[in-house]
């Protein structure tokens, strides 16, 4: 339940708890070491996400491959400093960039059988399961703002939006939902 958005039987919007987020930029040669230190192999295929554990619960790990040398790593808030330290020490010999962006974004889960259709009110991508299968993660647009869309299951999307644009996103999604009642 998110303020300003009315859930229906066909879709629900949930705001993520505070999380630690990092942007890792590194060449392919650093992937193995990074995955080992992170505790989750970083997906090699571009526009794919991987995870284990339950969001916000201890040990949960998310890795999203969003640019050729760009991964987003999302972990429980309390584990951020340790994860960063482990990565930095494992990647010491590889040129890389690890930047804390925990507060840059707001995370949401949009779920339900109507979730994909609702996103298509403002997102121009083909969100059919054939074109955008579970496991796919990519940046795109929702109306006027950029967002990250990661499909975890057919009716389960995790979304990340820049902090200051999140209120617009929620309002725009709520407006779009009026066409999906």
């Amino acid at each position: 339940m998110v303020d300003g958005f009315a859930d229906t039987s066909r879709f629900r919007l949930v705001e993520a708890p505070p999380l630690a987020r990092f942007v890792l930029r590194a060449p392919d040669t650093a992937l193995k070491a990074a995955g080992k230190a992170y505790g989750l192999a970083l997906p090699e295929a571009l526009n794919h996400g991987a995870s284990h554990g339950e969001r916000g619960k201890p040990g949960a790990r998310v890795a999203l491959h969003l640019g050729p040398d760009e991964w987003w790593l999302i972990v429980p808030e309390a584990e951020g400093p340790d994860v960063a330290a482990a990565l930095e020490s494992a990647l010491g010999s590889h040129p890389h960039s690890l930047v804390n962006v925990s507060h840059r974004q707001v995370g949401y889960v949009l779920e339900g059988e109507g979730a994909a259709g609702l996103l298509n009110a403002g997102c121009p991508l083909d969100l059919s399961e054939a074109a955008f299968p579970p496991g796919m993660a990519t940046r795109s647009l929702f109306h006027r703002v950029g967002l990250m869309i990661w499909r975890m299951a057919p009716g389960l999307f995790r979304l990340e939006i820049d902090r200051s644009l999140a209120p617009y996103f929620v309002a725009a999604l709520a407006e779009a939902a009026k066409d999906h009642s």
Partner: protein
């Protein structure tokens, strides 16, 4: 039972009567009616006045091509839509429709005076009058007399005055096949393609029901096909959905009407939806449109297309008249004749423009039914004021003229000039067309490269022989064709004579003829008139139709509401509004906000005590800004700088990249130190500035201006990826991760000192232009010792989600010290007192570092940086360039106007060369007088000079001074 409703038949639901009003008159129709069919059922043909001559006009067609029957539908509460085609408006209980273009009423209209002067309002009237007003008594006469009168009389509908209360939705959709048109061909194609369950098919049709002409001829078959399609989950069926634009790579825009007029609808629900469909293949099954015939007085109410009459009868159960004359150039009108006769109408005669009536025994069947068939005959004229009452016929002679051959009384005339394939959407995608002589029409030939578009059915010219007619243009008349009004374009009141006149005046290309005569323009875009226009121009210029060319088909195919294009991008959703973590606090504390890009920034804070009611807003602002400035200079101020762009550069080559990007030397910057940095474009001009802070050997925190953040990030990405891809460095935007609280003023150290952990704050340990990482109130932070005010100051970077509690604590403390928050206006004043520039206020994209007195920032020994070569261009090193200086008016209390132009001579005549202009101007609380920054040619050599600023009512004398007004030694920076 209304007068003209047939006793049975049609698709309407006779068990559901519906009341509606037209021009205030209460009428009845049925569920399933359109407004047009319901009006005809009530015997109403007269529905509007024409655009230019205000001639009475009736319903011509039964479809989207309708040029005449434009009405305003008023749904109450500001929901008023003009220019809707009555043929496309579904009837619903309580519908309120009004006719348009009538002064004062539909039956009596003084605008009809234009008709009497029609000889002067012919082709190109507007052009001629604008170009040569002398002939009409001069420009004044035009402006005072003609223009207001014509503007009042001509035009279509009226735009609603209030905001549109309706909602509009948008959907992006993807499919393998998009079928446009739900007639027989479209339905069959959709059925065939959707057999493969993996093939997503979208089928759209502008009508409330699928079936097209089948709804007239074989409705049961249409129902079966629709039922079969509806059962398939891979098929999306869009009713009331007009594909109005077809674009590159099979991208089609569809306007869907959502308000089901017969259902009570959710007030929150949108009334229209824009579908933006990306298809693997577009199949165009848009059918064909019947052409009117061009004969004298062919525009009277009661004269309509034969196919439309058959549609009204068989689909809607409405007889358009009881005593009917038919004029036709093809066979389909016979079907209308037979059906109408069966329904009880008298078919007075079928006049055949062809010498030999059509295929097979069709004429014989007519004769057998007692209907006279008159070959080689046309209509020479009609009578009837508000409705046709008689026709005069003429026999077409071999020489192409006609001679009178009697006449009939009639209340209805049906015409058919053959059928034109609807190729508009195909042509919009730039597909190539070919001329089909036997059809008198263009057909799709070759799709444009990259387009997967296929045209099928009647739209592709697949029509039975009976629908085909090569006849185009004006029919023969008796005597001079210039003495009659034979309308080609009903909506724009363009006659055959207008077109002939245009060609005689030298217009030969159809594009020029169109613009000169307005044929084919306005809401119907010539759907019923274009080919007849071509025929007339071809005949008149002795060329073939293809030689004349074809006007470009453009979107939208039919009118689309502005609301649909705006979608949900209105009000708060027009553009994102970005707010900082401190926004709500600022709002609670009297902040007045200003827009900076899409950000809301606190401009100034109005004190909570009631503002003097007599003070203007400007005075209140002035007072607030002065107070905020004093607090910073005398105690401590808090400023929300969160909107600043922030980029983190990390990697072994981070210093090398920044050294190449900014004008400053960066490699030598020590860890823990900051540098003011200037960014140029390759031309050598300042485009941004900020602070470069070195956090570690391979890690930098760089700030940009608020407005430049996205642009600068994109520019750096360009250089990183494409210019110097060998450098091992990455940038990450942290603008939104860090909120920034600037704490500025002599007491600033005191209010943060005991909150900070792990950072020694003494001037020696943490000097001006230093950066440290540590904690504040237990939260990790990046603390900068920087100043944009000239005071001792800090900028606290703290994770955005944790910023508000810190701000609140600091605000409390600041108040105890006699300080408080300040907004962007005070920030501007404070920095101007110090001569600090604001990029894009004091610079305009043509200023170099040297121009702004910032040449010291440039790393002179660097082999290259962005803009270095640009700065070496002769014009950028020449003397006499504009330079930043300070200005103080001789009347020192005076605050100059930003943008004011500066001249050296007090008596400079208007139009004199200005040697510069004011870029920033404020009232300085600290100095007690007005100050300004300006850029002036050779400015630094003019310091001490008296210059002048000519204003509207006076000339202001100003003295050129150094741009640093306060504390030039910088003593205050060190607390």
């Amino acid at each position: 039972m209304t007068a003209f409703r047939s006793p049975a038949g049609g698709r309407i639901d006779r068990s559901k009567p519906i009341r509606f009003t037209f021009d205030g008159r209460q009428m009845h129709g049925h569920a399933g009616d359109t407004l047009a069919s319901a009006l005809l059922a009530n015997g109403v043909h007269l529905v509007g006045r024409s655009f230019k001559y205000h001639r009475p006009r009736g319903i011509l067609s039964a479809g989207p091509e309708e040029p005449n029957a434009l009405v305003t539908i008023d749904r109450g509460g500001g929901r008023e839509t003009p220019n809707l085609r009555a043929t496309q408006v579904e009837l619903y209980e309580g519908l309120v429709a009004r006719s348009q273009n009538r002064l004062p009423g539909l039956r009596f209209d003084i605008g009809g005076i234009n008709n009497a002067f029609s000889r002067f309002l012919g082709a190109g009237f507007y052009y001629k009058t604008f170009m040569g007003p002398q002939a009409l008594g001069g420009a004044k006469l035009w402006a005072r007399l003609f223009e207001p009168a014509i503007r009042r009389a001509a035009g279509l509908g009226r735009a609603p005055a209030g905001p549109d209360p309706d909602r509009y939705a948008n959907r992006f959709a993807h499919c393998e096949v998009l079928v446009i048109g739900g007639g027989e061909a479209g339905l069959a194609e959709a059925l065939r393609r959707s057999e493969d369950p993996a093939c997503r098919v979208i089928l759209c049709d502008e009508q409330a029901e699928f079936g097209g002409w089948m709804l007239v001829e074989a409705p049961e078959r249409a129902d079966e096909m629709v039922k079969a399609l509806s059962a398939r989950p891979n098929v999306t069926m869009l009713r009331r959905s007009q594909a109005f634009g077809a674009y590159a790579q099979n991208f089609v825009a569809i306007a869907q009407q959502l308000t089901d007029p017969l259902a009570t609808t959710d007030a929150e629900a949108p009334c229209e939806r824009l579908w933006q469909v990306r298809a693997g293949e577009v199949v165009l099954a848009s059918g064909a449109i019947e052409r009117p015939l061009v004969f004298p007085d062919n525009d009277r109410p009661g004269i309509l297309l034969a196919g439309a009459a058959e549609t009204y009868l068989r689909r809607y159960g409405v007889l358009p008249g009881r005593k009917i004359v038919i004029l036709t150039a093809c066979d389909t009108a016979y079907g209308a004749a037979f059906a109408l006769q069966d329904a009880g109408a008298e078919i007075v005669a079928i006049a055949e423009t062809r010498a030999a009536p059509g295929a097979g025994d069709i004429a014989a069947r007519a004769l057998a039914r007692g209907i006279p068939v008159l070959p080689g005959t046309t209509i020479l004229g009609t009578t009837g004021h508000l409705r046709v009452s008689s026709v005069r016929l003429g026999r077409i002679r071999p020489d192409g003229e006609a001679e009178p051959s009697g006449g009939f009384t009639a209340d209805t005339v049906l015409m058919s000039g053959g059928w034109t394939p609807s190729i508009h959407l195909f042509s919009q995608t730039k597909g190539k067309l070919r001329w089909e002589e036997g059809l008198g029409a263009y057909l799709p030939a070759l799709p444009a490269p990259g387009q997967a578009i296929r045209v099928i059915g009647a739209a592709a010219g697949e029509m039975p022989a009976g629908m085909r007619s090569p006849a185009l243009g004006a029919l023969p008349v008796a005597g001079s064709p210039d003495r009659v009004k034979a309308f080609v374009d009903f909506q724009n009141d363009v006659t055959a004579r207008d077109l002939r006149l245009a060609t005689r005046e030298g217009f030969r290309s159809i594009e020029h003829v169109k613009r000169y005569t307005t044929t084919g323009m306005a809401t119907d875009q010539g759907k019923t008139s274009n080919l007849n226009s071509l025929g007339i121009v071809a005949a008149e210029t002795g060329r073939s139709v293809p030689e004349i060319g074809l006007t470009t088909f453009r979107a939208p195919y039919t009118p689309v509401t502005f609301g649909l294009f705006a979608g949900q991008a209105r009000g708060d959703l027009f553009d994102p509004v970005r707010r900082t973590p401190m926004h709500d606090w600022a709002e609670r504390n009297g902040a007045v906000f200003e827009d900076v890009g899409t950000w809301k920034r606190a401009h100034y804070f109005l004190p909570r005590r009631p503002v003097d009611a007599t003070a203007s807003g400007h005075a209140a602002m002035h007072e607030a800004v002065q107070a905020e400035c004093r607090k910073v200079r005398e105690a401590v101020g808090l400023f929300d700088a969160s909107t600043l762009g922030k980029i983190e550069f990390v990697g072994p080559d981070a210093a090398e990249f920044l050294e190449r990007a900014y004008v400053n030397p960066v490699k030598g910057l020590a860890v823990g130190r900051c540098r003011y940095a200037l960014l140029l474009n390759e031309a050598g001009f300042i485009i941004d500035d900020g602070i470069i802070a070195r956090l570690a050997q391979d890690r930098f925190h760089v700030t940009t201006t608020t407005g430049g953040a996205a642009r600068v990030f994109g520019m750096f990405e360009d250089y990183l990826q494409t210019e110097w891809p060998d450098l091992k460095v990455w940038q990450t935007s942290v603008t939104e991760h860090w909120a920034v609280i600037a704490v500025q003023g002599p007491r600033s150290r005191e209010i943060i000192a005991d909150l900070v952990e792990g950072i020694e704050l003494s001037d020696a340990a943490f000097p001006h232009m230093a950066v440290r990482e540590g904690r504040i109130t237990g939260t990790p932070c990046r603390l900068f010792r920087v100043s944009f005010t000239g005071e001792l100051g800090y900028e606290i970077n703290i994770p955005a989600g944790l910023a508000l509690p810190l701000w609140e604590k600091l605000a409390e403390r600041a108040a105890e010290f006699g300080g408080g928050p300040y907004g962007t206006e005070a920030m501007h004043v404070l920095r101007a007192e110090k001569g600090y520039i604001i990029v894009a206020q004091d610079t305009d994209g043509t200023m170099t570092p040297e121009d702004m007195g910032l040449g010291w920032a440039i790393g002179k020994k660097k082999p290259d940086f962005i803009g270095k070569r640009g700065l070496m261009r002769p014009d950028l090193t020449a003397s006499g360039r504009k330079q930043l200086v300070g200005l103080v008016a001789e009347d020192r209390s005076r605050v100059l106007e930003e943008g004011a132009q500066i001249v050296p001579d007090i008596l400079a005549p208007a139009g004199s060369h200005a040697i510069g202009h004011v870029t920033s101007a404020y009232s300085s609380a600290a100095l007690g007088h007005g100050i300004a920054l300006a850029v002036i040619e050779d400015g630094r050599n003019r310091i001490g000079q008296l210059l002048h600023i000519p204003m509207e009512r006076e000339t202001i004398a100003v003295r050129v001074v150094e741009p640093v007004f306060l504390d030039p030694e910088g003593a205050r920076l060190h607390g």
